[in-house]
Structures are given as structure tokens and as C-alpha cells.
């Protein structure tokens, strides 16, 4: 069994992972995530040319690191997350998670990852606890232990114990998103895919989640891919950032490296806002407005 996320020490040495019921040793040099030359096309009509959603993308995430993916709406961030999650098939390239090839060892990869998407998807009539227990069982966790850990994680995220047995539909969007994060963390993923996890959260909830992400990374040896529109969040949390534009990685470096790049190559003030503007050709405000519209549509 892999490590628990809160309160308890890890049950495995940091150079071992549980895969398919086996504990296997991994080479410290193996990256947590290797995306190499990945391309994804979607056919949108018989007479139309396929849409290139992701084009020759390569990203490497070292173990215990956080890589941020920035990009405008429609740039391919969520598609990339879905490709790594195995929810979309690759047209070209390869994805490896801790050395396991997604195509050939899909089940092994699935055991190592979990994902939080921008829309908290649950059985809305069920309670957070019922939803979390379902997830826990799917990932082979003991239900009794999962129940205790779920309460612990939810409380850490600011959801009181008395709320865990009420239907999810009675919770605010922010609280639902926290439950989604708890669901992912409960399964102790060694690679966590966070697709705009703080979008739509109030400032306090956003800080709670960000602090929790830092805690998970620091204390629990989880490697994280984070897509976000919050540039301060990216700056605070990410070791490296890849900027996507129209499915292509147009810049990739540490936050400091990217800021230095726009300052040196483009003579701009060294901020991530300027990095975003320079490489996506788009105002962040435009993007956030679109997000708000999307969220409103979803709520409707």
C-alpha cells in the first residue's frame, strides 16, 4: 500500500512504489512523468481537416516536483491532462509515469495517478463520504481506514465532519471542489494531475488548497502537474512552467527563468503576466472572463 497523505508516516521507503499489488523499486533517475513528442488530433467532420489539439509536446517532471501548465482557454491544457490520464489515446509520442509506459502498462499507470478537474464531478445525491468511499474501494483501499483518512483530509481542507454525510448537491461549488481534491488525495497518488483546481474558489478556499498542495508535495513525495490561470499560484507552487499555445509548448523553464527570458529577450518587466502575454498573445483578463462565462454556463 502506498503512503497515506496526512497524519501518518509513509509506509514505503521513498524509492519504492506499489504497483499491481507488488512493491517495486524504482530508479531515482526515472522521472515522475515523461511526455515525449505527444500529438493529438480530433476529427471534427468528414470534409474538414482534423483539429490539432496537442502538437509534439514534450515535458519532463522530476520526482517530487511540480510542473505548471499555463495557456489560454483552448490551448490544450486539459487535453494534455486527459492524455496523461489515459482518457484520450495518443496519436503520436509516448507518456511514461515512473517508467511505466501508458500504452503498454495502462493499469500500472492508473494505480499511480489521480486527477482533479476544474468541474467537481460527483454523484450529487450521495454524500462526500459515500463518493470518497467509492473512490477508495476502486483504488483498493480499506474502507474503514479510508473513512478516517477522508475525514482527516476534508477537515484539513476546511470541511467540517458534520458535512461529510450530507448530499454533495447541498454544498457550494468551492466545497465540492475541495471534496474533489480530497478524493484524489485519498488514493495517495504518486503523480497528481490538477486541472485548474482552484478556479472558482473564494480567496480563503484557494489559499487552503494551495497550502495543501504544498504540504502534499513537501511531506508526501507526490509529483504534481498543475494547470492554472492563476499566475501567482503558478509562481508560488511550480518548479517549472510550460506555456502552451495552440497545442504547442512555446516556452518552458523555471518561473524565474521564464521571467528572465521576457526581460532579456523582449525588454519587459519580469513577471509571469508578461510571460503569459508574450507567449500566448492573449490577455489573462480575457481568459479569466471566458472562464467565468464557462462556470456560469456550467452552473446553469
Amino acid at each position: 500500500m502506498t503512503a497515506t497523505l496526512l497524519g501518518q508516516p509513509k509506509t514505503l521507503a521513498p524509492d519504492r512504489l506499489a504497483v499491481d499489488g507488488r512493491v517495486e523499486t524504482i530508479d531515482g533517475a526515472v522521472p515522475a512523468l515523461l511526455v515525449e513528442g505527444v500529438t493529438k488530433r480530433f476529427v471534427v467532420g468528414r470534409s474538414k481537416r482534423p483539429v490539432l489539439a496537442i502538437v509534439d509536446v514534450s515535458i519532463r517532471l522530476e520526482r517530487g516536483g511540480i510542473v505548471g501548465i499555463l495557456g489560454a482557454n483552448g490551448s490544450g491544457k486539459s487535453t494534455l491532462i486527459r492524455l496523461v490520464s489515459g482518457l484520450l489515446t495518443l496519436d503520436e509520442g509516448r507518456v511514461e509515469v515512473f517508467g511505466h509506459d501508458l500504452g503498454r502498462e495502462e493499469m500500472a499507470v492508473k494505480r499511480l495517478i489521480n486527477r482533479v478537474s476544474v468541474d467537481a464531478a460527483f454523484f450529487k445525491k450521495l454524500s462526500p463520504m459515500e463518493n470518497l468511499l467509492f473512490a477508495a474501494r476502486l483504488y483498493g483501499l480499506d474502507a474503514g481506514r479510508a473513512r478516517g483518512e477522508a475525514i482527516e483530509i476534508l477537515e484539513r481542507l476546511g470541511i467540517a465532519r458534520k458535512r461529510v454525510d450530507r448530499p454533495v448537491e447541498q454544498m457550494s461549488r468551492g466545497m465540492q471542489q475541495k471534496v474533489a481534491i480530497a478524493r484524489a488525495l485519498l488514493t495517495s497518488p504518486t503523480l497528481l494531475l490538477l486541472d485548474e483546481p482552484t478556479t472558482g474558489l473564494d480567496p480563503r478556499s484557494k489559499l487552503d488548497v494551495q497550502a495543501f498542495i504544498e504540504d502534499v508535495r513537501t511531506n508526501h513525495d507526490t509529483s504534481i502537474v498543475l494547470t492554472t490561470h492563476d499566475l501567482d499560484e503558478a509562481d508560488r507552487l511550480c518548479d517549472r512552467i510550460a506555456v502552451l499555445n495552440e497545442g504547442r509548448v512555446v516556452a518552458q523553464d523555471t518561473p524565474a527563468g521564464l521571467k528572465r527570458l521576457v526581460a532579456e529577450a523582449h525588454g519587459q518587466e519580469p513577471t509571469l503576466h508578461n510571460v503569459f502575454m508574450t507567449y500566448t498573445g492573449r490577455s489573462l483578463d480575457d481568459d479569466v472572463e471566458e472562464d467565468a462565462d464557462d462556470a456560469a454556463d456550467t452552473a446553469d
Binding site: M1, G21, R82, L87, S117, D119, L138
Partner: protein
């Protein structure tokens, strides 16, 4: 933990989740029960009006056990539709669980739910028709054909579950079309002899034809299972053939959905 233990645990996840859903939607479940009982009674009263006790029993058995088979079929076929509607499909699909495991859990719950549902309708029938003569019934035959009937329906239900996977907006409704065709050709309320010749060919391909005929003959005439092998073996063969076919087809459909991005859609 062994792989088998993991898969069994994961399979139980679907049983438990479906139980939670049934419990939360208890009002709807009650309404559905009333709807099912009313439908079964409406059909049975045609037999009562005719004054023919055998026709009455034939219709009652048809109504009750078609209800059982259709409930089992619906739970399996709607496995995907429910997840798509709730928006959880992607999360379930990316969990480290084989589709066969998901199927095992769904079938186990469907059978348990179907039995309880059927008993409730049976009680409603007995209240309306207290003088039902079932003294000759052979319970073993009835149970065996219920189990075989469920088993043989699994593969077809898996094929039906593909529809909501591929057709986001209307896939769930299309499973009803399949269900209604099975009802038409399977001799649920009448002998298949009254059907046109080409429809009788379809009857022979429907597991419900054999399952309901077996239950009817066991319940009304008390025929032992040993004398109904002609009804039993097609059900066994259909289960053995159709379950792998259903799993294979579902796997292909899942790959297609992953290639085209159809798992993402919610609605």
C-alpha cells in the same frame, strides 16, 4: 493484496455505490415500483377478464419475470448512462479497475435489486389475485431459469451499455429500443407461434424467450429442470458467448471514445 482481492474489492465498490444511489433516490424507487406493479397488474387483468386461469397465470408470469429481466438489463445497460449524466464517467474510467470487474459488481447488484423488486410485485399480484393456483410450481426450475436468464442477458446488456458511451445525447434512450424489441419477439405475453416467420427467427436469438418459457413451465406446470434442457442450454451458450463478445465490444467502444474524446462529454 492479490490482484483478485483488489478486483473483488473494486467490484464491491459498484455494489455499494449502487446501493447508496438506490437509498438516496428512494422516492423515485417507490414510484418506479408503483409503475411496474401497475403495468404488471394491467396486463394480468386481461387474463382475469377472460376467465381463463391458465391465461391469467401465463400473463402474470410474463409480467413479473419480464420485469425482473428488464430491471437486470437496465441496471447494466445504464451503468454508463448514469455516470455520464452525473459527470463521473472519466473518474471511473481512469480508476485502476478492469471493465469485467465493473461488470461483475453491476450484475451482482442488478440481480439483487431485481429479485427484491420482483418479490414486491409478486406480493402486489397476490393481493389482487389471492386465489392464484401455484401448487404445482417447481421452485428449483424457477430459480435456475432466473439465474440463467440473468447470466444470458449480461452480454446483451453490455452491448446496450455501449450506446450511451458512443451516442452522448440519445444513447440511453436507444437502449429502450433494444429492450422493446426483446419484449416483442420473446413471447413474454403470447406464444411466439403467433409471430411472423422472420420474427420467430429473432425469438430464437433472444434469451428472454427461453428464460420466460422455462420459468412459466416450472411455475405453472411444475416441470423439473431436467425436462427443460432445451430451454436451458441456449441460455448457457448465450451467456458464454455473449459475455466475452460484450466485453470485447465494450473495450473497442471505449478505445473509440478515447480516440475521439467522447468520454469528456457530460449530459
Amino acid at each position: 493484496m492479490t490482484l483478485l482481492t483488489h478486483e473483488l474489492k473494486a467490484s464491491y465498490a459498484f455494489i455499494e455505490r449502487n446501493f447508496f444511489l438506490t437509498r438516496r433516490y428512494w422516492g423515485w424507487e417507490l414510484a418506479f415500483l408503483v409503475y411496474s406493479a401497475a403495468g404488471a397488474l394491467s396486463i394480468s387483468l386481461i387474463g382475469a377478464e377472460s376467465g381463463n386461469p391458465r391465461l391469467l397465470l401465463t400473463l402474470i408470469v410474463g409480467a413479473i419475470f419480464w420485469n425482473y429481466l428488464s430491471v437486470v438489463f437496465s441496471w447494466i445497460a445504464e451503468t454508463i448512462a448514469v455516470e455520464r449524466w452525473e459527470g463521473t464517467l472519466e473518474y471511473t474510467m481512469m480508476a485502476p479497475v478492469h471493465r469485467s470487474t465493473q461488470l461483475l459488481g453491476s450484475v451482482a447488484y442488478a440481480m439483487a435489486y431485481g429479485v427484491i423488486h420482483t418479490i414486491a410485485i409478486l406480493i402486489a399480484m397476490l393481493l389482487f389475485f389471492p386465489d392464484l393456483a401455484a401448487a404445482n410450481a417447481n421452485p428449483l426450475t424457477v430459480v435456475v431459469f432466473m439465474v440463467l436468464g440473468s447470466f444470458s442477458f449480461v452480454g446483451i446488456a453490455m452491448l446496450a451499455a455501449i450506446l450511451p458511451l458512443l451516442y452522448v445525447e440519445r444513447g440511453a434512450q436507444m437502449t429502450f429500443v433494444l429492450q422493446s424489441v426483446l419484449l416483442l419477439v420473446s413471447g413474454v405475453y403470447y406464444s411466439i407461434d403467433v409471430l411472423p416467420g422472420w420474427m420467430q427467427v429473432l425469438s430464437r436469438l433472444s434469451p428472454a424467450t427461453y428464460a420466460i418459457d422455462g420459468v412459466r413451465r416450472g411455475l405453472i406446470d411444475g416441470v423439473p429442470i431436467g425436462d427443460l434442457l432445451g430451454d436451458a442450454w441456449p441460455l448457457v451458450v448465450m451467456g458464454i458467448v455473449m459475455i466475452p463478445v460484450g466485453l470485447w465490444a465494450f473495450g473497442r467502444a471505449e478505445q473509440y471514445a478515447k480516440r475521439t474524446g467522447k468520454l469528456k462529454r457530460v449530459g
